[in-house]
Assembly symmetry: C2
């Protein structure tokens, strides 16, 4: 650091400021495309052109569903990725430096109920320094931070020693098949950075999660003689209470100081309940659907086994379950936990550059949700950090926005970190 | 009773036995018509022809939706009854006797999941003395008992003093609009008998019931930070427990000896639960649907007010409800309770004839469900008794059946009771 970085940072800051208008224009164009699952192609085309214009090596391909299915980490609602390409751009280093993957997803969740939006969800309208639209915070804003960072390196003719691999992936919102496909295609690096919406916090650990469905049985009867039946709703209350106890036990085990301020580090959330068919019948089934948080320090398989065994133990709480066991199945979303060593150099470099640019200490926490960082860490063996300009509690919500200043602050921190991590050829 | 009845009963028994084949044939024809809501016409046509062939005055009409809607007792999912006629046949008495309504519904509930039926639900197949099919027990078997009773009177040339009004009504399974229409058309009598499936028990009192829907609110959040939200599922557990306490209180007040053997005389059944939309979101709503039993000795309005006030009191149990009150609405089914005085002569005549025909004491209980007897009692002011040959726990179930012997035993008891109640012109 010191003198060199002061001058360099001034140049970088000036260059980013000079290119701010272009960055906002790019973000707006991306937000105006509703790149929901299956409809990512038009947005990827813009990414491709941007990378091409910067002179990067580009690679665009449609992930191979058959190949993906063969992986135990595959989790998607579809097998055919026609029309849903991944895009990768490689900024080749001069050699001898450490490489890095900059990973961002191009897919966005659906806009949901349009009536809850004040403006068209794909307007990209700017008001009071905020841009609005589905996906602007999660995570097209973060993607633009990375692209602005790369552009700045090119503008200032800064030549890195290590490779920078920029990945614009599909399917993060639906199980991570885009990043999985990039790993299977052979993209490797010494570390990875993912600018998901962290409110500019740095997440060296990300919670994993998986969805489950629990079936609870009852015995039907007419509501007027409900004592002749067994209510699956009543029994499901026991199941819910039982799961709360497991959540309690699991969270008591968490000692990582990164979780110190988090009330429930790895929650088990019951998100959906459905049972019975008729008001005047005793309900003979209930289905519970939920999300189990998985600690960065545990294996998915261990977490799965723990709750499965716990559900088997319901018979000790209530004899009904000995004869009519509740069953648990795994379906839908699954996000691997991710983590990087607390003394990893990328973490300290990122924190230092944060302080350097923003004159305050970075907040370092464990994230309460999973990202593609889990796949990069566990499948790709690439230590990953999540840090981005988006507003955490705006993700997936109506009137999603991002504060544009954060996009360019993040870009500045990223450029400096790339220089420190990959090294510079003078 | 005594000598006269012994000879008479022998003749009646012989006549019923001689006509057994015809009765079974009639029941089979009725069962083979899937007379679900809106599709009652073909079955009513058979009833019409049967009444006509016996020489009764017949009245067939489609209930007037507009007129019905004007009644506070109207409860149906439809307003148009085109193609869904009621049929009434009147066996005029010679004068000076007490009149009686014999009321049975022709509508049946849907067959449900065909895979759970061993035979076609509308086969009317007979195996080991049982006829199978949707509606055979609830309550076409009971209707045939009444028709066999009337036929027997005709065959034996027994001329009653009082009128017998046979009503074949629509819509019992959907709120009673058929019987309501018959009352509004002016059909009146000194008492009524309804052969719903009581397992040959005599029900001088019938529980009323009404359906409710309770809305419980929560506050959404990401499942990974579930502590930032408020789970409507968790809150609904409190609501369910609260309702159980009300059920307890209400049942402690029941002292009627007819309920002595019934564990919960007037249950409040939660039949359906639905809440949340996404496994990894904190659910912000739950909807509970249920059925509230109403005692024969209370007014519907009082029961309604009691639970409404009780739900308002949730804030004392859990402060959340003060700010986000749970709300209750009334929808769908509503069945008025019905009752007849315990010293009513129809009750004693029916019990005596039961003993006379079957050589055992009749079981007299309060029914755990409502019938059209509630409308006849409360709107028509016609004291009503429910007694019939069907198998209570087969109603609405797959592989519904009736034991054919019961159909003819009930017919015999009904003939003798009509003779005693209406009087005979010799």
């Amino acid at each position: 650091m010191g003198e060199r970085t002061n001058i360099l940072q001034k140049n970088i800051h000036q260059s980013i400021t000079a290119n701010r208008k272009d960055g906002i224009h790019l973000l707006k164009r991306l937000v105006q495309i509703a790149s929901t699952q299956g409809k990512e192609a038009d947005a990827q085309r813009i990414i491709l052109e941007t990378l091409f214009d910067m002179g990067l090596d580009v690679d665009l391909w449609e992930p191979n569903g058959e190949e993906l299915q063969a992986s135990p980490y595959f989790a998607s609602s579809r097998y055919d990725f026609s029309g849903s390409p991944n895009v990768v751009g490689v900024l080749k280093g001069t050699g001898g430096g450490r490489s890095i993957i900059l990973n961002g997803h191009i897919d966005v969740v659906p806009a949901g109920d349009r009536n809850q939006w004040e403006e068209d969800p794909f307007s990209g309208i700017v008001k009071n320094g905020k841009m609005y639209g589905r996906g602007v915070t999660d995570m097209k804003g973060g993607n633009v931070s990375m692209l602005v960072a790369l552009k700045t390196l090119q503008t200032l003719n800064i030549r890195l020693k290590g490779d920078v691999i920029f990945e614009s992936v599909i399917e993060e919102e639906s199980g991570g098949s885009g990043t999985l496909a990039a790993i299977l295609r052979g993209y490797q690096a010494d570390a990875a950075l993912i600018p998901e919406p962290t409110n500019m916090k740095i997440f060296p650990k990300q919670q994993g999660s998986m969805w489950f469905r629990i079936h609870v049985k009852g015995r039907s009867a007419h509501g007027g003689t409900r004592y002749e039946g067994v209510s699956a709703i009543d029994k499901s209350l026991i199941v819910i209470k039982h799961i709360k106890e497991l959540e309690d036990q699991r969270n008591k085990r968490i000692t990582d100081p990164l979780y110190a301020k988090i009330p429930i580090p790895i929650p088990i959330n019951i998100g959906k309940i459905e049972g019975g068919e008729w008001p005047s019948s005793v309900p003979d089934f209930v289905i519970l659907e939920g999300r189990m948080g998985v600690s960065p320090d545990e294996q998915m398989e261990d977490a799965r086994l723990e709750i499965e065994t716990w559900i088997e133990g319901l018979g000790e709480v209530e004899p009904w379950f000995n004869v009519h066991p509740a069953s648990i199945e795994w379906y839908g979303g699954r996000w691997l936990p991710g983590s990087i060593d607390s003394d990893h150099e990328l973490l300290s470099l990122l924190s230092e550059n944060y302080r350097f640019v923003l004159n305050e200490e970075a907040i370092i926490e464990a994230s309460p949700w999973g990202t593609d960082g889990g796949l990069l860490t566990q499948v790709g063996n690439i230590p990953s950090i999540v840090f981005g300009p988006g507003v955490t509690d705006q993700a997936h919500f109506p009137n999603e926005y991002i504060e544009l200043d954060r996009v360019f602050e993040a870009a500045e921190i990223i450029v400096l970190t790339l220089i420190d991590w990959c090294g510079v050829e003078y």
